[in-house]
């Protein structure tokens, strides 16, 4: 069974600080996605990474896929209160006979205080 371990589970920081969220697995994924979810709403896709070692930037957010495609990280620079939310990583298990289903991490609840 494929699992994604996401850390930390909770993160409370001051506006302007930097932070990194990690997503780790012992399994290889065809691709990995990061979502952000606000209370009472569905998750919204931030980025998909596909190639080992790939780095993608979305304004102050930097996403990296590990060389072996088993792990990923999300780094936020100069966090703002608007970054507050639940961040979820999810791996595409197609390459491991998972039928196209996503394996979700447990989420990181980020709170950025002004």
């Amino acid at each position: 069974t494929q699992l994604l371990e996401q850390s930390p589970q909770f993160l409370s920081i001051q506006e302007g600080e930097n932070l990194t969220v990690y997503c780790n697995s012992s399994s290889v994924f065809s691709s990995l996605q990061w979502y952000r979810q606000e209370p009472g709403e569905g998750p919204v896709l931030l980025v998909t990474v596909v190639t080992g070692g790939e780095v993608k930037k979305l304004k102050r957010l930097t996403f990296q896929f590990g060389d072996a495609r088993k792990d990923s990280s999300l780094h936020i620079t100069a966090a703002q209160p608007g970054d507050t939310g639940l961040y979820l990583c999810a791996g595409d298990g197609v390459g491991n006979n998972q039928g196209g289903k996503l394996i979700f991490g447990q989420g990181t609840e980020l709170s950025v205080k002004p």
Binding site: Q33, E41, L88, G99, G100, F104, G107
Partner: protein, 112 residues
């Protein structure tokens, strides 16, 4: 563009009552469809997924069932709700050959 609609947004039901949550997708054909349940502030647990009309795969044994009567319609049901069925239910779709998944706004189900 593609859209996904999920309703109702909130629902309060007594224990033992039936349930029907509906999800429809517009702007795409032959989508993969998914039902998830999410505990407060945590990750998503996949309940059911469907790759076509009438084709349902169940991920975890439970008090719920799913049906796909039309290509872009996915329904989550129960004959008798339990207290443990409370939670936030999310519907999602994806294309057949590529991710990512696109989510509805969810249904907050409270069982009394």
């Amino acid at each position: 563009s593609q859209t996904i609609h999920q309703w109702p947004a909130t629902l309060v039901q007594p224990v033992g009552s039936p349930l029907s949550l509906e999800c429809t997708v517009e702007g795409t054909s032959n989508p993969n469809l998914y039902w998830y349940r999410q505990a407060a502030g945590r990750g998503l647990q996949l309940l059911f997924y469907s790759v076509g009309i009438g084709q349902i795969s169940s991920e975890v044994p439970q008090n719920l069932s799913a049906s796909r009567p039309q290509d872009r319609q996915f329904i989550l049901s129960s004959k008798k709700l339990l207290l443990s069925d409370s939670g936030f239910y999310l519907c999602a779709w994806s294309t057949r050959t590529a991710q990512p998944q696109h989510f509805g706004d969810g249904t907050r189900l409270s069982i009394l």
